[in-house]
């Protein structure tokens, strides 16, 4: 009985001393996932056999920031998928406007050429530490988090951009040079978490 009690105390102390980490930091190795795409198929990063890295974007159907960045996300894939950095978008938001059927509708309307995955349990968003949309994680081939944050510094209009954070990060990975900015923060729509 005493042994059991000691074990319980040890476990409790261990858990208390190791609080659950809130998502990834730059340099951490991200875990792969398997989520349902808008075409009904399950998609993992490992499916992209020829990828040199990945541009994972937590996005949203309804968020005005996501809407403002929608064309820029399409353009990122257009530019970088052929160079080995496919865009993979994930929707983890709760709410009727962000249902799977709405995701399918938007992906069809905008003719997405990249996956738009449904993170219904919100586990992937939590593991990555995604906070607002669109929130980008640029991963190297070995899934190391190389950049996390905003797409650029001008959500209002693409014409006003002075710093292209994601493009700079991917370009640096392609060239094997140092990424100029590895982490940024942005105002945006908080991911709509399920209420526990």
């Amino acid at each position: 009985m005493k042994k059991v009690l000691m074990l319980v105390i040890c476990v409790v102390m261990f858990v208390a001393a190791n609080p659950v980490k809130n998502g990834y930091g730059v340099g951490d190795v991200a875990t792969d996932f398997k989520l349902k795409n808008v075409d009904g198929n399950m998609v993992s990063l490992a499916d992209f056999k020829d990828a040199k890295g990945y541009v994972v974007i937590f996005d949203c159907n309804t968020c005005p920031y996501s809407k403002a960045y929608n064309q820029r996300i399409i353009d990122l894939n257009q530019k970088y998928a052929a160079m080995g950095f496919p865009v993979i978008t994930i929707n983890a938001n709760e709410g009727s406007g962000d249902s799977y059927s709405e995701m399918v509708r938007i992906a069809n309307k905008k003719k997405y050429k990249f996956p738009y995955l449904y993170d219904e349990s919100q586990e992937v968003a939590k593991a990555y530490g995604a906070t607002n949309t669109p929130h980008v994680f640029v991963l190297s081939k070995d899934l190391k988090v190389s950049y996390m944050g905003a797409i650029d510094d001008s959500p209002r209009n693409a014409a006003g951009v002075t710093k292209r954070y994601v493009e700079d990060a991917v370009d640096a990975l392609l060239k094997g040079t140092i990424i100029p900015v590895t982490k940024t923060k942005a105002i945006g729509c908080g991911i709509k978490w399920k209420r526990i």
Binding site: N132, P155, A186, G190
Partner: protein, 158 residues
């Protein structure tokens, strides 16, 4: 016929007496947050386009009116997407907001989000509760529900 007139008058009086949101800079906001006060300061970061923000504002309004020891400041983050303050002011008038409303008129949030609170991701809504007497502060980065604010105030008091 009497009712439309009453309605018109109500609309008119709201628009006449509604506060106009003051546009402030980061240093002004930092100053307000740091200024010693006998009251507990509640800063709610919101935007007119943010549905969960709009939903929780009545809780903040209620707190501001009912608790004399608390000052609520609603800090609009609309500037980043729309620098024109009209939309915010129309919202303030329509909802007849009584809490103090300010607009943070700063570009490039990446350069200043950490200066408001290092733990803040920039996601909206966010609420910062500050007690300058105990030096305690609490940041919440999700939608508030009934009772949440009271709990936060309790936490910065002790």
């Amino acid at each position: 016929m009497r009712y439309p007139i009453t309605f018109l008058f109500t609309c008119l009086s709201i628009s006449l007496f509604a506060q106009e949101a003051q546009q402030i800079k980061l240093k002004d906001l930092q100053h307000i947050i740091a200024t010693p006060s006998d009251h507990i300061q509640v800063f709610n970061f919101w935007a007119t386009w943010c549905a969960p923000c709009v939903k929780e504002i009545p809780l903040l309004e209620k707190l501001n009116q009912e608790n004399q020891r608390v000052d609520v400041t609603l800090v609009s983050m609309d500037f980043d997407l729309d620098p024109n303050p009209d939309k915010v002011n129309r919202f303030v008038a329509r909802k007849n907001l009584q809490s103090k409303v300010v607009i943070l008129a700063e570009s490039d949030p990446n350069s200043w989000i950490d200066k408001i609170d290092k733990n803040w991701s920039g996601a909206l809504p966010a609420t910062l509760v500050v007690n300058t007497k105990t030096g305690k502060r609490k940041l919440v980065q999700k939608e508030l529900h009934e009772g949440d604010l009271e709990k936060l105030i309790e936490e910065v008091n002790n």
